[in-house]
Structures are given as C-alpha cells and as structure tokens.
Symmetry: C2
Subunit: 349 residues, 2 copies
C-alpha cells in the first residue's frame, strides 16, 4: 500500500522528560492521517504531528460522529516492538464506527499505516518496565454540513503518546444509583466519543465525595454492575472471580477478555454472568469479597480499595496473593515479551 | 462588553442562490468565536467564517464534549429582525453543557455576541415567507489532551446558515422496538452531540424500509413514545392533543412548549402525559388517531403521514382542519411579526 510520508525537520524527542509524563499530553513527532471522501479512503499520509484545519461546521462538532481506540506498543530488551492483540482494536473501531453510521477503515490502512508510523517514531518507544507508547487511532466526521445526518467525509487519524507505568492512586468507587452510562439498544458497547463526555459530570460528583470512579449499573434497575468509565470490572468472592457479560451496553475490553482466558488457563474459577449490587454488598458484609479491580489498556489492572452504595461504604481487605497482581504480572510478561504467549496475543512489528 | 471584530474583505452573499438552499451547507460571512481557558471566557471575536486549527488531540474528537443549539432569526416587511424565545436556547445550551461538565457561557457573550453577529451579517437574513437565518451556537472542548476527563479549554462558536421554508417531504415513522436514543439518568435531555450520531445507524435502517424517521420509545420497555431524532412528537386522538412529558431522556423543545401554551390559549384540549404505543395503535385501528406531527425549530411542524410498529403499518387520514396547520400558522405569524404575541416570545434585535 502507498503511504505518503513527510518527515519532521527537528525531532521533539530531546525536549521530553520521559520520567515525568502526564498521560496523553505529549505526542510523538508524527501522525497518520487518512481522508475518506466520495465513498473511498484516500492515500494515507504520515506527517508531522500538529494542529489541523477543520470547518466549524464539521459534523463531529455538532453530531458527535467520533470513535476511537486505545492500544499500546511495547519494546523488549532487544529493541523489538510488540503490539498486544491489535486485531481486537481494529475490529472494535470498525464495530464502533458502524454503530455511528461511519465507514469502516480498511485493514491495510490501519495496520500498514500503524506499522509505518511506529517505524518512523520508533525512538519514542522506550524500553524498561512500565514504559510504552500509547496509540490512539480515531475516526471523525470532518464534512462541513450541519443537517442531522451521517457525514460524507471522514478522517482516520493515529496519534501516539509516550506513557509510563500508570498508577492512578488508590481507587474507590461509587455504584451508580441515579445516573447511567448507556441504554439497552444504545451505543454503550461502542468506543463512541459521546459515551465519555456523558460520564464526566456524574464522575465529578463522585470526586467531590472522595471517590475516583463510578461503577455503572444497568439504567433500568441500577441493580446490576456493568463497568467503570474506562475499565471493565472484576469481583473476587471467596476464590471465585466474577465479571459481567458483555452486551450492547458494555465495552468488550481486550484486557477483560484476556483475563477471562488467563483465568481458564490457570484454573482460576471464573464466572461471566450478571453481578448484582446486592450480591456484592452481601459478600462484602460477610468478608467474602476479597478483591475488586478494573481492567483496561491504560492501567492494565487497577485494584479497587473500597466502594459506596446508597449510604453504605465498604473497605476491601489488604490481600497478599491477589488476583489483581497475578493477572497484571502475566499480562505485562506477555506484553513485554518476557513470558510464553500461548494464544499468540503478542504481535511483533 | 468588548467584542473584537474582523470583517471579511469580499462578501460571499452574491454567490449564493437563495432559492436553492440545501439546509446547513452555506454559511454567512462571519462567525463568533469565544475561547475559554484558565477558568475564564476571553474577549469574543467576530471574524470571517472559515476553517479553524484544532489539535488532533482536542478532547471533542475523543470524548465528545460538545453541545449545541438551533435557533432562527426572522425578518419582517420593515426589515426588523426578530428572534423567537432566545432565552430558552441560552438556558438550554448551558443546561446541556453542565451535564457534560462544560463551563457555562455568560449571558452577555451569548446575547451581545449574537446580536453583533446578526448586525454584521444582516443582509443574509432574507424576508419573505419561510426565509430565515438558522443560527447554530455550539460549545466544544478544544484542549489537546487525551486523558478521559473534562477539558480545561473550550470554544463557544456561533455560525449562521440561511434557510428556506423546510419541507422534508412526506414523513412516515417507525416506533422504536430495539434501538434506543437515551437512558434514564443519561444525557437524552441535553443537546449533546453524541445523542445525534447514536441515532444515525438505526435511522438508516428505517430509511431502507421506506421510513424517514424513528419515534424513540423508552429504553426499558419500548412501550412509551418519547420523541423523534430532532423533533418532539404530538398525537391527536379525536380532538385531544397528547404529547409526552419532558424527562431526563427527552429534549425540552422550544417549539413543543410553545405549542402546549398555544393549545391552552386557544382552548384546544391538550394532555402532557405518557403516551403508550398500545394506545396509539388502538386509536389508529379505531380511526380515532387523526394526526401525528413533529415539532422543532428547523421545520416548525412536520406532519407525520403514517407509522410502523412491529409488523403493523398505519396510514393517517387526510385532514382539512389539522392542528398541525393551525399551530404552524400561529407560530410563523408570531415569528414573522404578523400576529399578536401575547407571551412576548418575539425579541426584536
Ligand atoms: C468504557 C470502557 N470500558 C472498558 C475499557 C477497557 O478496554 P480495553 O481492555 O480494551 O482497553 C475501556 C477502554 O480502554 C473503556 O473505554
Ligand atoms: C432531539 C430533539 N428533539 C426535539 C427538538 C426540537 O426542539 P426545538 O423545538 O427547541 O427546536 C430538537 C431540536 O431542534 C432535537 O434535537
């Protein structure tokens, strides 16, 4: 496939303090841009990262046609670069896009474009524990027209941001009682931009109460636990791990499905089924709720220390042989080419 | 209030065919732009309409922080310019924005900015029946940072597009059975960009079956009728008019609330209450469903000719003394300064 390449004159690489990276604020020297117009994707371009011109009437600003992905590139001690299950992200961005009536991105544009971009910006991928390059592919409706209908013109863009091991601090959550994230028959399963803005205000209310995140419940009854803002959620009751099934309300997380597989591989008892607020509160009261954790590409696994529902608050016990650490170690081992990868999740570039 | 003004060199006005306007594709010479940064709104600027620079990492592209309004300016035979209940749009854009954790736009920026913009582009407001200037105020998150949290930087923008009397053709609708527009506790009441993209795909399925729009039902049971993509919906059963109450799932339409008031003024029996699919189908079967219509700023009132639910299809009768025409005439009369305006809805600029 043909890719037009315009390289930057002076790399910004030396100006970046890789030991003090705020997540998602620094971008690499280049980006990939591919335009869709007249029913087809044009030749992708790699060009210097920087501001781009958009019509103020671009439909993305008015009607929210925007979907994205989040993935990472990892470098091992031999300077080889790996992706983790990138097919999942490719399939998911197109599944998300279809739900918003957007054109699907061709496989070669996605993979050859990404590969070339990572070649050009290879020096931005730092090796060493916790270091990675966060990759953000996204598709937005760029056509300048404000009638409420799908756009005829889009941009597929990949930008990259160097990331360190992500420590979000101690995380406590609120189980949603009033606000909700998505409806049956809605777009909750899609990585659609609008799903995120919708969570900011309720999450800011949680912050005021001293909680970092919300675990969303089903919108009809608020009785079944679904997922957090950018993480799927697991519960350990006794030695059994439980997580909600995916549905049209829940993002089908790559980390989540990898954990489900690893649990099976390592004979950890796992159930994928509806999880009720009542069950979790009961288990917590009896001391049977040993762990809760979130899973997602950014943080891999994020232990949850406590939760609140209505007027009840719970703290989870300190635990030494936690599933959270176990899975995190396994996943990082596979991602950084340190452990056997029996499902071929790792893809060498 | 201070407004910086940069006027265009050559107006595009003469290049525009005002008898053949596609909705929302042609914009006036100028736009208003006001930046929010460091916790405050800066001096608004009026400048030539045109493409603007955005970081590819601007949060609006990733997390959908974007809300908008739709309003119109009307010119009467004396060349006076009027807005219709603009306070409603001002309050609503801020209500929408708050739900997406965005800063509220100050009253003077909104009104003085809009007034000045309409002065500068006054020649774009054509008089004569059905002509108007469609006004699109919107707020978007412009900060370049891709962590999933509210932006620190925004732009409030107003663009304007000349519009003719809007005739959407014959409209038939499907009552939603599977897909849904919004959840309890969600953002359905907000004019949030993401709500619109979410409707495009189900609506495209309706198009394939020969229906132009979907009337959304509640996501939990699909039994209660709510609103259409960009219109609230009214049902006339016998001589009684019925429309769904507003809620956190439904946009509180200005046209809708004006019709409710006019119905009271003219002693038309109106009920604002839940409307079930069953009730409407029963009424249609008995021949008691005399009319259905949508209401919204763009089309004012859009008669609905028929509907489908499950495998049942219904055609509504031709009707001479329709409520749809009655309310449309009244509303246009007030908007174009031809009828008495006893509620002071008309605002002269
Ligand atoms: C809503 C939501 N849930 C869950 C996840 C976790 O998915 P993944 O493991 O694929 O990163 C994400 C994204 O990262 C998300 O945005
Ligand atoms: C979802 C939705 N419902 C209803 C309406 C009608 O509202 P209004 O009468 O204020 O234009 C609109 C917008 O125009 C809308 O976007």
């Amino acid at each position: 496939m043909n890719i037009d390449i315009e390289l930057i004159q002076d790399s910004k690489l030396n100006t970046v303090d890789f030991n003090n990276l705020a997540f998602g604020r620094i971008f690499t020297d280049h980006m990939l841009v591919c335009d869709f117009a007249n029913g087809e994707w044009k030749t992708p371009k790699i060009m210097p990262y920087g501001p781009m011109l958009f019509e103020p009437s671009a439909r993305v600003f008015h009607y929210g046609q925007a979907v994205f992905e989040g993935m990472k590139a990892y470098k091992d001690d031999n300077d080889d670069v790996f992706l983790f299950r990138p097919d999942e992200n490719f399939n998911r961005i197109n599944k998300s896009g279809e739900r918003l009536a957007m054109p699907t991105v061709p496989e070669d544009v996605f993979f050859e474009g990404l590969k070339k971009l990572l070649e050009v910006d290879n020096a931005w991928i730092k090796k060493g524990e916790g270091n990675s390059l966060y990759i953000r592919p996204f598709i937005i409706a760029s056509e300048g027209a404000i009638s409420a209908s799908p756009a005829e013109e889009y941009k597929f863009i990949i930008i990259c941001s160097p990331a360190q091991s992500y420590y979000a601090g101690e995380v406590r959550v609120i189980f949603a009682e009033k606000y909700s994230r998505s409806a049956d028959g809605g777009v909750g399963f899609a990585k659609a931009a609008g799903n995120y803005a919708a969570q900011f205000y309720p999450t800011s209310l949680a912050h005021k109460e001293g909680y970092q995140q919300i675990v969303w419940t089903d919108a009809s009854t608020h009785e079944f636990l679904e997922e957090a803002g950018t993480m799927n959620v697991f519960f350990r009751i006794g030695d059994k791990l439980v997580t909600a099934p995916t549905s049209d309300r829940i993002l089908d997380g790559v980390t989540r499905k990898s954990i489900v597989q690893l649990a099976k591989d390592f004979n950890i008892d796992i159930e994928v089924r509806r999880v009720s607020v009542t069950e979790i509160k009961e288990a917590a009261k009896k001391g049977e709720l040993k762990e809760m954790f979130g899973s997602g590409t950014a943080a891999v696994i994020n232990p949850i220390k406590g939760f609140k529902h209505q007027n009840d608050t719970f703290e989870l016990p300190e635990i030494s042989d936690s599933y959270a650490s176990f899975f995190k170690e396994k996943l990082l081992g596979i991602q950084y080419n340190k452990l056997e990868d029996k499902h071929n999740w790792r893809v060498k570039l």
